[in-house]
């Protein structure tokens, strides 16, 4: 082999190394820049207002003569919406995964999973639109006692559909990772198909399913567009499932184009709170994945 070709190879090796390094550095840089921006702009504001009057006050009135920046109503609304949507979505998702795993003939599994995964590819604004023109009027006319279609219930229903694909595929993979010997052993000991699946295989796949739960929670927590269209948007304490409330993400999205100075800093500070929530979720996800031993 001529020397020049070897040199070229060595050069190419170096160049590609550099490119990979740059790509890795870019992702880290982006993360660092966002964190830096959030904290550098949000923390001074929280310090100025005081953490307690920011986090635990329920009055959000950034443009009032005496502005107030309490986000607690929105923290609560976010937690309620997330919890309810995960309860509905993860419940249905887990049962769907079990159904696919055990009770659906294997030739249908791949197309069905493909269809469910298709749900993940639909842009969130389409979910929001669906919620706005179908779910909200339906709840307003048939479910709600006070004639309000917007609120936690509508948002949770929309979100529960959105988290289905995550929940189904992660749970399905977790179930698949359980050794078939467990199932067969249970059958050999006289358990029925249902007993073996629910009492033996399901507990064995527990930590993978929990990981799916955490991922779904993250999706529900961070979703903005679909939620903003069906949540109503009034920054008040949530006391009913069908009443206009506002989540943290909706708060940022509603104000980001309109507010300036202190009010804008309050939005960034809202972002800090959301970021901390997401961080806690991600950490617990990593923890669960570590415990699972690399199955998921």
């Amino acid at each position: 082999m001529p020397i020049s070709s070897l040199r070229y190879r060595a050069w190419r090796e170096k160049a590609m190394k550099g490119l990979f390094f740059l790509s890795a550095a870019f992702s880290l840089l982006a993360l660092g820049a966002i964190i830096l921006y959030l904290f550098a702009n949000g923390l001074p504001f929280i310090a100025k207002i005081g953490f307690f009057s920011f986090f635990f006050s329920t009055t959000w009135a950034p443009l009032a003569t005496l502005p107030q920046y309490g986000i607690f109503s929105m923290v609560l609304a976010t937690l309620y919406v997330t919890a309810l949507s995960v309860a509905i979505g993860a419940g249905i998702g887990l049962l769907a995964a079990i159904c696919l795993f055990r009770f659906v003939p294997s030739r249908f599994v791949t197309p069905l999973r493909w269809l469910i995964d298709l749900l993940a590819g639909i842009p969130s604004v389409i979910y929001g639109l669906f919620g706005l023109v179908v779910i909200v009027p339906f709840i307003r006319d048939y479910v709600s006692a006070n004639g309000m279609g917007y609120g936690i219930l509508s948002a949770s229903l929309v979100l529960s559909i959105m988290i289905l694909p995550t929940m189904v595929s992660v749970s399905y993979d977790a179930l698949k990772a359980v050794s078939p010997l467990y199932y067969e052993g249970a059958l050999a000991l006289g358990a029925s198909r249902e007993e073996a699946t629910f009492k033996i295989v399901l507990p064995a796949a527990k930590s993978g399913i929990f990981a799916g739960l955490v991922l779904s929670t993250g999706r529900a927590l961070g979703e903005t567009m679909a939620v903003i269209m069906v949540i109503g948007g009034s920054p008040q304490l949530p006391v009913s499932l069908t009443e206009s409330v506002r989540t943290l993400t909706a708060n940022i999205a509603m104000g980001a184009n309109e507010l300036t100075s202190d009010a804008l800093s309050a939005l960034v500070a809202t972002g800090v709170v959301l970021f901390v929530f997401a961080l806690i979720l991600n950490l617990s996800f990593s923890f669960l994945r570590g415990k699972e031993g690399g199955h998921v």
Binding site: L63, A64, V134, R140, M229, G233, S244, M254, E258
Partner: protein, 291 residues
């Protein structure tokens, strides 16, 4: 393919059923579902100002629609909704209410008979403008029929019916600064773009900041023109005069299925007032329709 056809037929059927169920008789015992705009919206602050609730925060259970399209969607789809929006953006999907018995029309806004309207004006120091041929020509342009057609086309109310066409002055060059009200800003950008097609050597620089900025910038000479979206108050800028560019009317809208045709300014204020006591607060449609 077959599956697709079946599922779309199902989906259509479902939507049809829902739509059919939606068209039920209007039930006046239901709560009024108040829709407002997000904080910072120019339409919202103008509306709250006009009904006498300047700077007040939202009532409970209000629905916050982000943008005009969302307001139209909500009022068009919800028989029990009540909202407001700039007249130019109101579509035929919703019904406009009379306010204090006055129909919201261009003529009533021009004459001032309709309560929920506000002038959008530029203010300037006469000394500065008369010393600058560029500024003088821009004022002439704002009053011209070329400007009036842009004003009407963008949903605002023209206040100068007998305007004549603008004639370009070839030699003008330079830069004009216009700043202030964000309510007037989008219209001013369109107007300035048209002006620059006449005076190709002139540049109009437009920035926002709000009505307050408009006053201070015009008074201190930071920009040639200040934009304000309320009646001119001479005390805020003693060296300046104002010239109305256009008027903006805010319509109060309900669903077409709603039998209500008129609302009083007092009731409107009651609906949007978060200090109204529970005993006098209007909450259901029968309280408005019965009266």
């Amino acid at each position: 393919m077959r599956k697709n056809a079946v599922s779309s037929a199902l989906a259509l059927g479902l939507l049809g059923v829902l739509a059919a169920c939606g068209a039920r008789a209007f039930d006046a015992t239901k709560s009024i579902s108040i829709t407002t705009r997000e904080d910072g919206s120019g339409t919202k602050s103008a509306f709250m100002d006009l009904i006498g609730l300047k700077g007040q925060s939202d009532i409970l259970n209000v629905i916050v629609a982000t943008g005009t399209a969302a307001v139209m969607q909500e009022v068009g789809g919800n028989p029990y909704a009540l909202a407001y929006d700039s007249l130019g953006y109101v579509t035929s999907k919703v019904k406009k209410l009379q306010v204090d018995g006055v129909e919201v029309t261009t003529a009533n806004i021009q004459s001032g008979a309709y309560a929920l309207s506000r002038p959008l004006s530029v203010i300037y120091s006469t000394a500065t403008v008369s010393a600058s041929p560029l500024a003088t020509s821009y004022l002439r342009f704002l009053a011209s029929s070329d400007a009036q057609s842009i004003i009407s086309d963008s949903g605002y109310v023209s206040v100068n019916g007998a305007a004549t066409a603008y004639t370009a002055e070839g030699s003008l060059a330079g830069t004009l600064g216009v700043s202030g009200s964000t309510s007037l800003q989008p219209l001013m950008i369109l107007l300035a773009a048209r002006y620059e097609t006449f005076q190709t050597h002139a540049t109009v620089e437009i920035s926002g900041g709000g009505t307050g900025t408009g006053y201070t910038n015009a008074e201190n000479g930071v920009s040639t023109f200040g934009m304000i979206s309320a009646e001119f108050e001479a005390t805020k800028a003693p060296d300046c005069v104002s010239s109305v560019v256009a008027k903006d009317g805010i319509a109060v809208i309900v669903n077409p299925a709603n039998p209500l045709t008129s609302i009083s300014l007092g009731d409107l204020k009651n609906l949007f007032d978060n200090t109204e006591s529970d005993s006098t607060k209007i909450t259901t449609w029968s309280q408005l329709i019965g009266a």
